[in-house]
């Protein structure tokens, strides 16, 4: 399959990239890893007159802790997460996520920024970032602004990014000690989007009670879902089986899935519940709970 014709631009600086976006407006699209955009163009399900490739813009690929945040450059590839010692040792939830996205070849190109910017509720990083309480840094000729992740996903395949904005970084508050997270995904096979998946990030207090819980759900509605009720419910509770079961039930209530080849509405809901329980149990274990 072959995309319709377009113009390709390879800016060498962020300023140039932003200028191109400003010039072409809606007719332009950012090209990052291209692993979502190019398939869409090839199937002619999507069209763009101009592609602005940010692959040659320096300074967008990094993973580092700084100023109380884990900072991930917008064009950081999934494979970099997989290989990062920092991620491997301190952010198991991000390692879990990277490892179940697409397949290893796609992950060599696909970027974390693209995964969020695509606004696909089936993508895996949105849930993780919701659970972690991340912030998205958007840069435009007017400057930089920070968007809390729960305000980022505005609809199916739409985000709070403006046409002239580039997602330049993701900021994750460094979790307190006694924190742990997990991402559990049900997929039909490698390379498939989730039938259902849950990201859970938990911080435990002195007495083993839940100080903070973050729960994000993948492919459970038109946008990635933050299971706020379940999070609130857990707050201050001992994360035992009863509490986890109830939180999982509340999380499932927050879903609004649609039927497709991956399953019925009922199945997807129930899987959100089952996987939330599993993710929470693992997260609590990582956090040093039972």
């Amino acid at each position: 399959m072959i995309p319709a014709a377009f113009d390709y631009h390879a800016p060498n600086t962020l300023a140039e990239a932003m200028a191109l976006l400003a010039r072409y407006g809606e007719a332009a699209k950012v090209l990052s890893g291209g692993q979502s955009l190019l398939p869409l163009l090839k199937l002619r399900l999507g069209y763009a007159d101009h592609l602005v490739d940010i692959g040659r813009v320096p300074g967008l690929e990094y993973i580092k802790e700084e100023d109380g945040y884990l900072k991930i450059g917008g064009a950081t590839r999934e494979v970099a997460l997989e290989r990062s010692d920092l991620i491997r040792s301190k952010y198991p939830i991000l390692l879990d996520t990277a490892l179940v996205i697409a397949d290893p070849l796609v992950r060599n190109r696909a970027t974390v920024g693209g995964n969020l910017a695509h606004g696909d509720p089936g993508n895996d990083h949105p849930a993780t970032m919701l659970a972690l309480g991340a912030e998205v840094v958007a840069t435009s000729p007017k400057g930089e602004r920070t968007i809390p992740i729960e305000k980022f996903f505005t609809g199916l395949f739409t985000t709070a990014l403006k046409p002239d904005e580039i997602l330049t970084a993701i900021k994750v508050p460094i979790p307190a000690s006694r924190s742990g997270g997990a991402y559990v995904k049900l997929e039909r096979k490698v390379g498939d989007l989730a039938t259902a998946a849950t990201a859970a990030q938990v911080t435990l207090g002195k007495n083993g009670e839940v100080e903070r819980a973050g729960i994000g759900l993948t492919n459970a509605g038109p946008t990635p879902i933050k299971a706020t009720q379940a999070e609130n419910y857990l707050q201050g509770k001992k994360p035992d089986d009863t509490a986890i079961t109830e939180a999982a039930r509340l999380a499932a209530q927050a879903t609004a899935p649609t039927v497709d080849r991956r399953g019925s509405v009922e199945y997807k809901r129930e899987m959100a519940r089952v996987l939330t329980a599993r993710a929470l149990t693992q997260a609590v274990q990582w956090a040093g709970g039972h």
Binding site: M1, A4, R44, L186, R188, G191, D192, Y267, V274
Partner: protein
């Protein structure tokens, strides 16, 4: 079998490395899309978004304005040459391009010819077609109701959507057996549409040379000669005559049955090349491949199995509705509209059986091809192997015991089945017992009982299948009248090397290696010195091609027979050289020696040289032979598979913990290749059992028509296969071999389905249709109150 030849010769039984690999591992294979001819242009196809619609108009104006677009071909263009319809292998008719209406979503509507792929794709997007949607018939049961719209309005007088009725066996006797039985179990079983999805899609380059009047078509076909004849029959009236048609089937990236049919795309490309006088390349993309090429299966089966209280099976009745799409384009031998479905009595000794199949038209793409299996054998095996487990469940008998009780005993071969086949050889007890031992059957049953107490779901499934391959004896088997023999032509060069050509076509099976080994076995010439060629109709002897595991049983046999003719002549030459009578000579691989005086001998190489330099007076010089082998019977490979699964009570996911496969394909040419064929077959058996399905919504929109939803297993979903074998040679095959490429695809699905049902048997679950997805399992868990 102990090899009779030394390793350097590499005859039967040696795991020699494949002769095709040196080019393939270097990326130097030549697949159709690798070929570029001077002046070649590209074709791309406009397809219907509707499953059933009148075509009101096709407007090519904008397409012709796209830079690089040279022509747009429609049904009207082809109608000028009366090429808009073509016959199918089952003597039905199929549109090449429509002039009135489309009959399935993704049907070819027009073709764009352009200077390159990109322009052709742009042209396709620019063709404007106006449709008038018509009522869609998706459900084959509804298709048969009196008020269903008649789909084939092109057929004069056709008043319904029924295609054919086929039956075999003894209806009355079976009725009686069922009436008189202690127990009868009955079950509906559906085998959904699936697609072979070889990693290389289909395509061709049609190159019509106006000066010579010769058409050369490089194409992805498993049966080049049959295609040549079909082209001559279809296009004879426009001056294409068979000697002026050359079909070349280059390296093929997997076939599995999907590259047997003649698809409209090929024919349009040929027509376009004739009209434009340029070579035309057409390569379908994956979505076209999945949505428009021939499908497999789509059998709605109702089976009844009768037995005595002690488990003795007494009667089998199977009724099937076959959804063929809008035309019967099944790739079956002409007299077998339901293929070899009558192998459905399987490995069991039935006195009475009756099977019937009705074919139905619907608004779906045509097909009814194999999916790495001999014609409809998977459907038959799935039915009988599932029913055997349903019966075991009903009688509360162990599934292995029930099988062992009913197997055709080894001493009853050749065995005449209730549905009329003569099974050549078998040892079913031997295969199942070996599989049970290897997997530790008794121990697993104990473990299962304990797990059940603990609330864990584990299942053990058996499948003891009998295949029927190697079509076939000319008395019964033909395709469009062409008898299903196969052929080999061997030429021995003066220095003792050889070239052999065959009427078949490898798509990965390794013919260049195994055929050389067959000849090496017969003549003692090292396999390394024997070139094998297939797939060029200008040079190869006529044959019916490679599918349905027929290559070894037919062309392989032809290879041995041709080699034996050469050996006969070699013997005469040896007698002349050694100055003895032929009767005084003894053969061992590679030489003739004088009985009782082994030092007086001539090697095959010496004899061959003499055939060109010193042939006996009165004898023709040279050394070559041809054999057209018409097999006396089919061959009946078999095996027993045992699968162990664990189910996730939360998600319904199925994990295959172990899978033991004991296969028997008679004498083995190359054990390494046979093992590889079985690994591949098992994986293609697992795929439809757990993952693959193409279905349609009520408007005839295809579901699962790309790799996003048509789920080919990766290395991660595929378990480690544990293979083993027994060897029961075929008594009628020249070297005792049977086919093997497809046994595992046939045998694996019921083993997996049986294991999953077995994991749930204590909850009174009897059957689940494949593919057994996590959701299907979960629904049962929920219904039975055991979901987490």
């Amino acid at each position: 079998m102990v090899p009779q030849t030394i390793a350097e010769v590499g005859g039967m039984g040696h795991s020699i490395k494949r002769k095709e690999d040196p080019r393939l591992i270097r990326g130097k294979g030549t697949y159709v899309d690798d070929i570029q001819l001077p002046g070649m242009v590209y074709m791309d196809i406009v397809r219907s978004p509707f499953a059933h619609a009148k075509i009101k108009s096709i407007n090519s104006e904008n397409a012709l304005k796209v830079p690089g677009v040279l022509a747009v071909i429609t049904g009207e263009t082809l109608a000028q040459y009366n090429l808009h319809w073509m016959p199918t292998l089952m003597s039905d008719t199929q549109m090449v391009l429509p002039t009135e209406k489309v009959m399935y979503q993704a049907q070819e509507v027009a073709a764009v010819i352009a200077s390159d792929r990109y322009a052709a794709a742009d042209g396709v997007e620019a063709v404007e077609v106006e449709y008038d949607p018509l009522p869609v018939v998706v459900d084959p049961f509804k298709a048969l109701q009196p008020d269903a719209p008649v789909l084939r309005t092109d057929k004069e007088g056709k008043k319904d959507n029924h295609i054919f009725h086929w039956e075999a066996g003894d209806n009355e006797g079976t009725n009686r057996a069922i009436d008189e039985a202690d127990v009868v179990v009955k079950q509906d079983i559906y085998l959904p549409r699936i697609h072979v999805a070889s990693i290389e899609t289909c395509g061709c380059i049609a190159d019509f040379d106006r000066v010579m009047g010769k058409l050369t078509v490089y194409m992805t076909t498993q049966a080049p000669h049959a295609v040549r004849t079909v082209f001559a029959l279809v296009a004879g009236h426009v001056g294409l005559s068979e000697e002026k048609i050359r079909i070349i089937s280059p390296d093929i990236g997997g076939g599995f049955g999907g590259k047997v049919p003649v698809y409209p795309g090929y024919v349009i490309a040929v027509a376009a090349s004739v009209v434009l006088g340029k070579p035309i390349k057409w390569i379908e993309d994956r979505i076209e491949n999945l949505q428009a090429d021939s499908f497999a299966r789509d059998y709605h089966i109702t089976a009844e199995l009768a037995a005595k209280k002690d488990g003795t099976m007494t009667g089998l009745r199977i009724k099937t509705l076959a959804d063929h799409g809008y035309t019967d384009a099944a790739a079956n031998p002409s007299k077998f509209p339901a293929g070899m479905f009558s192998i459905c009595t399987g490995s069991y000794d039935f006195k009475h059986a009756f099977a019937e199949v009705d074919g139905v038209y619907t608004n779906k793409p045509p097909g009814g091809i194999a999916y790495r299996c001999s014609f409809r054998v998977t459907e038959a095996v799935h039915a009988i192997e599932r029913m055997t487990d349903v019966l075991a469940h009903e009688l509360k008998m162990d599934a292995a015991d029930l099988r062992l009780k009913n197997f055709i005993p080894a001493d009853k071969f050749p065995y005449k089945s209730a549905l009329g086949w003569e099974y050549d050889s078998g040892n079913y007890h031997g295969a199942l017992e070996k599989a049970m031992q290897k997997i530790g059957y008794a121990g697993l049953r104990k473990e299962q009982a304990e797990k059940r107490k603990a609330g864990e779901l584990m299942g053990i499934g058996i499948s003891s299948f009998t295949e029927i391959v190697g079509a076939g004896p000319s008395k019964h088997f033909d395709i469009l009248g062409l008898k299903m023999f196969d052929s080999c032509e061997i030429r021995i060069h003066p220095t003792g090397k050889a070239i052999a050509r065959f009427g078949t076509k490898s798509q990965g099976q390794g013919h260049e290696t195994t055929y050389a080994q067959i000849i090496a076995e017969e003549l003692g010439i090292p396999a390394a010195h024997i070139e094998i060629e297939e797939g060029d109709t200008d040079t190869a002897p006529y044959g019916l091609g490679t599918y349905a595991s027929r290559s070894t049983p037919t062309a392989g046999a032809a290879g041995a027979m041709a080699a034996r003719k050469i050996r006969e002549k070699a013997k005469k030459i040896a007698a002349h050289l050694l100055e003895v009578a032929e009767g005084d000579l003894e053969w061992e691989p590679g030489k003739f020696s004088v009985k009782g005086a082994p030092q007086k001998a001539k090697t095959i190489q010496e004899i061959v040289f003499a055939a060109y330099t010193n042939h006996p007076p009165g004898m023709e010089p040279g050394l070559e032979a041809v054999s057209y082998y018409d097999p006396p019977n089919l061959t009946f490979p078999f095996g027993s598979y045992i699968c162990v699964v664990d189910l996730d009570r939360g998600t319904g996911e199925v994990k295959i913990r172990r899978f033991v496969a004991v296969d028997d394909c008679g004498n083995i040419i190359n054990p390494m290749i046979v093992d590889g064929q079985i690994h591949g077959g098992l994986t293609m058996g697992m795929a439809p059992a757990l993952l693959e399905e193409i279905s349609y919504d009520e408007n005839g929109n295809v579901q699962g028509g790309s790799f996003m939803d048509y789920l080919l297993p990766t290395a991660v979903e595929t378990p480690q296969w544990e293979t083993d074998k027994t060897v029961t040679p075929s008594p009628h095959h020249p070297f005792g071999a049977k086919g093997v490429g497809e046994s595992a695809t046939v045998g694996a699905p019921p083993a997996i389905a049986n294991a999953i049902v077995d994991a749930l048997a204590h909850l009174e679950v009897r059957h689940i249709d494949i593919p057994i997805t996590p959701e299907k399992v979960w629904k049962i868990l929920k219904e039975k109150g055991v979901a987490l």
